[in-house]
């Protein structure tokens, strides 16, 4: 429980359906900022579990008549989510920490704790659905998009497998955000949205550059900005500060300024170079995913037609997914995908079904 609308309604729905419900909030790691004028203060650093959020969640649990625990997960979150995220920036990629969080924290650490309390299921406020198919003696769990296309969060849940889905519940996934809000009103729960933000929960004030420099001094080494002909046309401040498709903030010498706008095409770790080019040079049809995860537990027998998206907010596009020996997968889009970025997740769908996904290793 976060104290927000979605997890509160999820809990209320389960109580209403007669389940014995236990509320849990995870205390996640945040950077300890030194005290001083203008400092956010150490308790407020991770938005997930600021003191007001804890108080809100506790009050909601009380209102629902369920026990509530806030469980400290700071060091496991730091180790499994934040450290790998920092490391991935050091490898010239643009990582998404939510995958590791769902895999290792929510459906790892938290699931363990839930089972330890005698729970049969772990429910969250995610907008996604689980469908159960029984054929002969086998039960298959399918992960489906939430019914609200705008709120669908199946993308970040693609890391889940059969065992996770067998003990997961997403009560909000059957509803639109609008309906969830109406239910919150009906349950007498607070409906105010906590400031929704694109920033990561552990980033103080959304400043990922300052965060990286404080946490990993030396992670950013300035180097050249090259055009596609290999000519030096400017200087960058360190690869972690750039991502594919970025246009702003490129320090390109005026004499090299192009008639057309320039975009980051590639971060070249070997040369410590940012490669830039024009909009029509951006984008790729071919994507290699390392260690593709399949919700079903097994890769398809051969290449399949499906759709995929290369970022949470990217548009889903038609493609062919070819499983490779060793567990990787080659994805060939029908049309070039503009912002496919190493480190981000590629998630494949068959209609509403999440087939699986993995981290983009190479976009060429």
């Amino acid at each position: 429980m976060s104290g927000g609308v979605d997890s509160s309604v999820a809990a209320a729905l389960l109580v209403e359906r007669g389940y014995e419900v236990i509320g849990i909030m995870l205390r996640l790691w945040a950077e300890q900022m030194p005290a001083g004028p203008g400092s956010p203060g150490k308790e407020n650093a991770n938005r997930c579990c600021a003191p007001e959020a804890v108080a809100d969640a506790r009050a909601i649990a009380r209102q629902l008549g369920i026990p509530f625990y806030d469980i400290h997960a700071e060091s496991v979150f730091k180790e499994k989510v934040v450290d790998p995220w920092i490391k991935a920036y050091g490898e010239a990629t643009t990582p998404n920490p939510c995958f590791n969080c769902n895999r290792s924290i929510r459906f790892g650490f938290l699931m363990q704790r839930a089972l330890a309390l005698g729970a049969d299921f772990l429910a969250t406020g995610h907008y996604a659905r689980i469908a159960i198919t029984r054929e002969d003696a086998t039960t298959r769990y399918r992960l489906l998009k939430g019914v609200d296309a705008k709120k669908d969060q199946s993308y970040v849940l693609h890391v889940l497998g059969q065992r996770d889905l067998a003990r997961a519940m997403f009560p909000c996934g059957d509803f639109t955000k609008q309906q969830v809000r109406e239910m919150a009103r009906r349950f007498g729960l607070p409906t105010a949205e906590r400031a929704e933000s694109q920033d990561l929960c552990f980033l103080t004030e959304g400043d990922y550059r300052g965060f990286l420099l404080r946490q990993a001094p030396g992670i950013a080494t300035p180097g050249p900005i090259l055009n596609t002909r290999g000519e030096v046309i400017g200087r960058h401040e360190g690869l972690p500060f750039y991502t594919i498709g970025q246009r702003r903030g490129l320090n390109i010498a005026p004499q090299n300024a192009h008639a057309e706008a320039l975009y980051v095409l590639k971060l070249d770790a070997a040369q410590n170079a940012v490669i830039v080019g024009t909009a029509d040079e951006l984008g790729t049809r071919q994507i290699l995913v390392r260690r593709m995860h399949y919700v079903s537990g097994a890769p398809p027998a051969g290449p399949i037609r499906c759709s995929a998206k290369v970022r949470y907010k990217a548009r889903e596009a038609a493609c062919t997914l070819a499983p490779l020996p060793g567990g990787d997968a080659q994805i060939t889009f029908d049309e070039a995908q503009r912002d496919a970025t190493p480190g981000q997740g590629l998630v494949a769908y068959d209609g509403d079904d999440v087939l699986g996904g993995g981290v983009i290793a190479r976009n060429a």
Partner: protein, 391 residues
């Protein structure tokens, strides 16, 4: 909680319900006799008379003079005032800056000594403890140096219940002219406290641990003990703790200490019997379980266990789901499951030290409640073990 499930409170070492006679004693001082005891007028005199009597009663109960009793805000404050007050008084007199304590003290002492060391240049020696959490008085004797100014050893450990040989340690301190402080917060409801027999100079109590209200503590300061008040302001409590005294709290403390003095003799053996029943029941039914702390020489109401490969906090939650209110015994507020420093200091292996559990009984505990725990606890331990070894 709207749940109709049965609830069993076995966390009396965390806090106790206020006894009805204590509530009765306090009530008039909330509304009728509300004067400030420092005021000159009749309202003030009425409050001052009650406060004088409270000093008298509390002093008498622990073998001290009324003038040696200081009311504070809580047990932690009493420890803070005692340690800082004695340390800075010794520094002012140029007597030295060496302090001796143990690694099993309550946070109120441990964190205060840490700060005295890290920020204020005092030197703290922590003596070893044995497998039961007990410090050897001979180690105290050997550790005392010419510049030693203060020894702090808690009378009974909150986490593992072990009683310390305070009287002997106090005697050694007095032979060497060293101030002796003890945190006796866990004790009054179950043990007799006598500051003369214990040879103690500074002693901390907390009313809510013995059926009194929260928000009031006691600090005993033996007359003549070097002490500087670390809370400055007016001359309340004879200049030893500035701030208007919590009169209802002080009156309640006096009533509570009278209440436990009358109950103690009958309750201690009853609780010891129930406690031993619990220990036998748990050890018989839970694999890889041990009692932590001293098997006999411990608080009579206090049972503490370690379970191999069990995270204590998770076990508490699993028990709470069953309606059983217990504790790990340590004030673990800092973060992820960490082995208890107290257990580690006692030589408990790391894989056991995560699983500390304290079951503390009280005057209202029944045999049936103990049997409920004996029935439910083994299943909870098994459940936690299964879940957390699974992934």
């Amino acid at each position: 909680m709207t749940s109709a499930k049965r609830r069993v409170y076995l966390d009396y070492s965390a806090t106790t319900p206020v006894a009805p006679e204590v509530v009765q004693a306090i009530t008039p001082f909330l509304s009728e006799t509300y004067g400030n005891p420092a005021s000159l007028h009749s309202y003030g005199r009425d409050a001052a008379a009650a406060l004088d009597e409270a000093h008298q009663v509390v002093g008498c109960a622990i073998g001290a003079r009324a003038s040696e009793i200081v009311f504070t805000g809580c047990g932690t404050e009493s420890d803070n005032l005692a340690l800082r007050g004695a340390a800075f008084a010794a520094r002012q007199q140029g007597r030295g800056s060496h302090i001796i304590s143990t690694p099993t003290e309550h946070h109120a002492v441990e964190a205060t000594l840490h700060q005295l060391q890290d920020l204020f240049g005092f030197e703290v020696t922590l003596l070893p403890v044995d497998g039961c959490g007990r410090v050897d008085p001979d180690d105290v004797r050997r550790a005392i140096r010419p510049d030693t100014i203060l020894v702090s050893v808690m009378m009974a450990n909150n986490e593992v219940g072990t009683l310390a040989p305070v009287a002997e340690i106090g005697r050694i301190c007095h032979e060497r002219g060293v101030v002796f402080h003890t945190d006796a917060v866990q004790c009054p409801a179950y043990l007799t406290i006598d500051v003369e027999e214990m040879n103690v100079d500074l002693l901390a109590l907390s009313s809510h641990k013995f059926y009194g209200p929260k928000g009031i503590g006691v600090l005993y300061i033996r007359d003549g003990t070097p002490y500087i008040s670390m809370q400055t302001g007016g001359g309340h409590e004879r200049g030893r703790r500035a701030g208007t005294v919590n009169v209802p709290g002080a009156v309640g403390t006096a009533a509570a200490i009278k209440y436990v003095a009358a109950q103690r003799e009958a309750q201690a053996p009853r609780l010891r019997h129930l406690r031993d029943r619990l220990i036998d029941g748990i050890l018989a039914s839970v694999p890889d379980a041990r009692v932590s702390g001293h098997p006999q020489d411990r608080l009579p109401h206090h049972a503490s266990f370690v379970f191999k490969s069990v995270d204590g906090e998770t076990l508490l939650m699993a028990l709470d789901v069953e309606g059983i209110a217990v504790s790990t015994g340590s004030a673990c507020t800092s973060g992820d499951p960490e082995p208890s420093p107290v257990l580690l200091a006692m030589g408990v292996p790391r894989e056991w030290a995560l699983g500390g559990l304290r079951v503390s009984l009280g005057y209202h505990t029944t045999e049936e409640e103990i049997d409920y725990v004996i029935e439910r606890l083994p299943r909870c331990v098994e459940q936690v073990r299964r879940a957390t070894s699974d992934l």
